[in-house]
Amino acid sequence: MSAVSLPSGFEALEVFVSDWSFATAAERAQRRLDSTAQEREVFFHTAENLVAPALDLLDAKPLDQHDAQEQRLMSLLLSLAHIGLAVEIQGDDEPRHARDARHITITRAVSDS
């Protein structure tokens, strides 16, 4: 990974690229289940205020015209969709929630490329 893997303005998210980029929704859901509370919180709280500007930036082009930097940023946003539920909604219920969620398999997602 190069030092400038994300569009400028999103340098703070650089440290999450290697751990939170996946090709499918099933992998993102699994990563959520395998994560620690600390991992989730650091990722979510670093990223939460960057989500709206990131969507604004990425919405300027159709998805299929995104360059590699933009694709990486998109990938982080999609992981956040899962992690946001864990941190913001489930909170300290997440371990119990994760126990049940393991039985629910994502078989197909419109975001799978």
Partner: protein
């Protein structure tokens, strides 16, 4: 003051009076004998949702779907003439399963055994050394299965001569279903689960809100409030064998910041998609025997609860989308909507299984439904009526043979 809701008490009216109020026998929720009767009386002779038209995108597309409890494998094709047809996936020579892939695109199907080859309209096109047979090709077409479409949902009926058409079966609800997002969808996301529980026990969980505050205290927060602490629906509707409810949501609920961002993006895009008609947004349809559909433009899902054994089922949930993801916000909002629905569905599974374990013990002869569990009562009555009718038919046929 005792906790109360906006719908403390449901008056029995002409729709609901004959549903009664008595306890419901427990045996139908676990006993193999009863399940075997349900398979014959219901699953082998009702319209069952098995797919969506977007799974057959062009002439030549086909899908194969198993109906395990009937040992049936169904081949559904979209012919060059654009007609959707269904057949038993069974070669008419000696019964070999014709197609082993679960989807694809082709216009002819060759049996792996002796290479009888069928067209996508079921006709036998060619068969090696056919002169040695004692039958006409015209009599060797694939065995058709009744198939029809409503709201782009594909239904099949295993009865060789269904007692009613799909339109008759759905009645006036057919028009409503045509207005739901699934009727415009071109693609979907899907998640599934297997559960050690009877199909009715599983299905019932998703047609009562009594459990909401206990099982979904966080994920279901906006679906209850001080004025309706159980989040009971605004109303119930009974439509012959089907039923509906109008979901209540707390007008004072404020989404959390990240959740709100995903919802706003989703709402903007749903409007742009033409899913903006909110007339049916809170309508939740329970289509007999085992399908749910939610009208919400933001989370337009279906759930099919597929029976596998007296105490095992599979849930298949699909979220329907109009068009592929074209921009970042759409992709993000859809991912969030799917993950949200999945969170809520996942919370129910363990407690349904616990209910099944309790019933399996035989400790209870009866279970109880309160007035806000009336949809569960209605399902049981509809199932039981068919089971009793079928049992009577079978017994009469048995006597005639004596």
């Amino acid at each position: 003051m005792e906790e109360s809701s906006t719908q403390d008490h449901i008056e029995l009216d002409e729709d609901t009076a004959d549903l009664g109020t008595s306890p419901i026998p427990a045996a139908p929720y676990y006993q193999p004998d009863y399940f075997a009767l349900e398979v014959e009386a219901i699953f082998r002779r009702s319209w069952l949702q098995i797919g969506h038209v977007c799974e057959l995108p062009e002439p030549g597309s086909y899908i194969v779907r198993e109906i395990e409890i009937a040992d049936a494998s169904i081949l559904i094709t979209r012919g060059r003439d654009d007609v959707i047809r269904a057949f038993h996936n069974v070669c008419t020579h000696r019964g070999t399963q014709l197609v082993s892939e679960c989807e694809g695109s082709r216009s002819r199907f060759s049996c792996p055994y002796h290479r009888w080859t069928f067209a996508d309209d079921g006709e036998l096109l060619s068969a090696p050394d056919f002169e040695r047979f004692y039958v006409d090709k015209a009599d060797c077409a694939l065995t058709p299965v009744a198939v029809d479409v409503c709201a782009r949902l594909i239904f099949v009926n295993l009865d060789a001569t269904p007692q009613e058409s799909l339109a008759e079966f759905l009645g006036p609800l057919a028009t409503e279903l045509e207005e739901l997002p699934s009727a415009q969808a071109t693609t979907f996301s899907e998640y599934t689960y297997e559960i050690e529980a009877n199909w009715k026990l599983t299905y019932d969980n998703f047609q009562e809100n009594y459990h909401l505050r206990f099982i979904h205290p966080r994920s279901g927060a906006a679906a209850a409030g001080p004025q309706n602490p159980f989040g009971y629906p605004v109303n119930f509707g009974f439509h012959g064998t089907h039923r509906t409810q109008t979901i209540w949501s707390n007008p004072d609920a404020r989404p959390l910041p990240f959740q709100g961002l995903a919802f706003v993006k989703g709402a903007e895009l749903a409007m742009r998609d033409g899913f903006g008609d909110v007339t049916r947004a809170k309508q939740y349809y329970a289509i007999f025997p085992n399908l749910f559909l939610l009208g919400s433009p933001m989370t337009p899902f279906s759930q099919c609860v597929i029976p596998l054994s007296p105490t095992r089922s599979r849930g298949v949930i699909r979220l329907y989308w109009n068009g592929e993801d074209d921009c970042a916000s759409r992709r993000f909002a859809r991912e969030y909507a799917m993950a949200t629905a999945r969170d809520i569905h996942s919370e129910d599974r363990a407690v349904i299984e616990a209910g099944q374990r309790g019933l399996n013990s035989g400790a209870l002869t009866h279970i109880h439904f309160q007035s806000q569990e009336i949809l569960c009562r209605h399902l049981f009555q509809e199932v039981n009526r068919r089971v009793e009718n079928w049992r009577a038919e079978r017994d009469a046929a048995g006597r005639a043979l004596l």
